[in-house]
Symmetry: C2
Subunit: 264 residues, 2 copies
DNA sequence: GTGGACTCTCCCCCAAGGGGAGCGTTTAGA
DNA sequence: TCTAAACGCTCCCCTTGGGGGAGAGTCCAC
């Protein structure tokens, strides 16, 4: 039996943290003295403590750590861990994007923006939509687009696009829709026909990979306001040239469309 | 002038967050209506808001964001940002290490550990020491070791090593010392002679890169306890074969020494 | 048997927001 | 011009994963 201090030294977890894990029923001491409340740990708990420590270093929430620990099947457990590692990769992508944006923002480079006003008519497309968390966007997008491609196949009549609720950016959660235009939208799995509503859009084109696209959003927003307009409704993106067309991200062209109306 | 809602849509920052940034004096609205308390922002504040947003995505604390924004000199500002990017790299290294450790922990692989008890005599070495945060360890270590190498030069009489306070692992902050053994330790810059105290050590060797070394710590700890001993004092590492000797991390050999005493 | 190290619980604190209540303001349409 | 909806305000509490410290009890080696 090890006192909490000894266990702390052996696992490199602080005494405080160990108490918290006890409280969270994450790592219960092998023995708790009824009268004194002293916690005593067993040597066999060291590996468990280490697993927790490593998972926490990966920012896995305690609740998820608990779920992982309580999963007896090693295969399922490994799957849960892998799932978190995927999340980690997403986070890494976002970090990279932020770095690129930051570099672009800190470069004292006016680079005038080219904006076009366009009246977009309503049209019917094949779509996949969901309320999705900001964190999971990348993964969700990849899956949805793959399903769309599979459902529509060669009947595609134009570049894919998406409509994204502002709440998706402002609060970590919102409605997202991706679509592929086609003459007769199928209805299979998550894919279904949807009418994209007509809209008056301020459109600009972001060139290159999507890292840094937020800066273009900001420039578009500035243009909209300076041209005495106001923003209304969800944002649209059209992937005019994207990964479907070329593997060179520098050649990608993404149209960003912001629904606007004139404020006389 | 933009209302907070419009500004929110244009910057993809939530209304709530904008209010918080106002409160924190990070991003003050251009105009605040005296009577209603309504906040109004200018278009020219969009880039600033975006810089803040990107920095926050990089987990830069608001206080540091503020410092960066208030730095007028673009060169100094870029340096501050670069500094944070370096921290980010450190974090990435830790993440990688945690993933490696986790894989090793989840592998059902007993792999008996080889531990040697050794009475280490006191000896005088050239050392650099500091109280350092867990986060900054990697960077600090690299700098300290470089300074040691420069100061001692060819007079080295053995592999480098370090002594690390347990608090460094348990709480995010603790005393760390790295040393190079040499006959006549110099005193330049942070380098100074120090006596490594004698100690009874339980020693095992970790093979390969340091990612995953925590697992070896755990195994050593288990051995110590199972052999009726108790852990006392800071941990020691000796980099028997390290980056100084070979560029192949798989060939590295790190001795981990834990001061112990027998509990009858 | 005693002093110092260790441990206990309890309360407050942190960052960086989110949720919601209760109330005032603005604005578009009837 | 009125009114209702949308929008904005402040205030308070909640979250996560801990850290700091107070005040009191416990353990152990000398």
């Amino acid at each position: 039996m090890l006192t909490i201090g000894e266990f702390s030294r052996l696992t490199h977890l602080s005494v405080r943290t160990l108490r918290r894990y006890h409280e969270a029923a994450l790592l219960e001491p092998a023995v708790v003295d009824e009268t004194t409340g002293y916690r005593y740990y067993g040597v066999d708990q060291i590996p468990t403590a280490q697993v927790i420590h490593r998972l926490r270093e990966l920012d896995v929430p305690l609740s998820d750590v608990q779920r992982i620990l309580r999963t007896p099947d090693p295969g399922v457990r490994a799957a849960l861990v892998t799932d978190h590692l995927r999340r980690l990769e997403d986070a890494l992508d976002r970090t990279r994007a932020a770095v690129v944006s930051l570099r672009r923002l800190l470069r004292p480079d006016p680079a005038p923006i080219d904006v076009e006003l366009r009246a977009e008519p309503a049209r019917t497309v094949a779509a996949v939509e969901a309320v999705v968390g900001h964190r999971d966007m990348a993964t969700w997008f990849a899956g949805a687009m793959a399903e769309l491609e599979a459902a529509v196949g060669a009947a595609v009549t134009g570049p894919p696009g998406g409509i994204y609720d502002n709440a998706l950016f402002e609060q970590e959660r919102g409605h997202a829709l991706v679509y592929l235009p086609t003459a007769a939208p199928p209805r299979t799995g998550r894919v279904h026909p949807t009418v994209l509503p007509a809209a008056e859009l301020a459109v600009t084109t972001h060139v290159g990979e999507h890292d840094g696209i937020e800066v273009t959003y900001g420039e578009l927003g500035t243009w909209v306001v300076e041209n005495a307009m106001s923003v209304a409704g969800p944002v649209r993106e059209v992937y005019v040239v994207g990964p479907r067309d070329t593997s060179d991200p520098a050649a990608w062209r993404t149209e960003i469309g912001w629904p606007v109306f004139r404020v006389t």
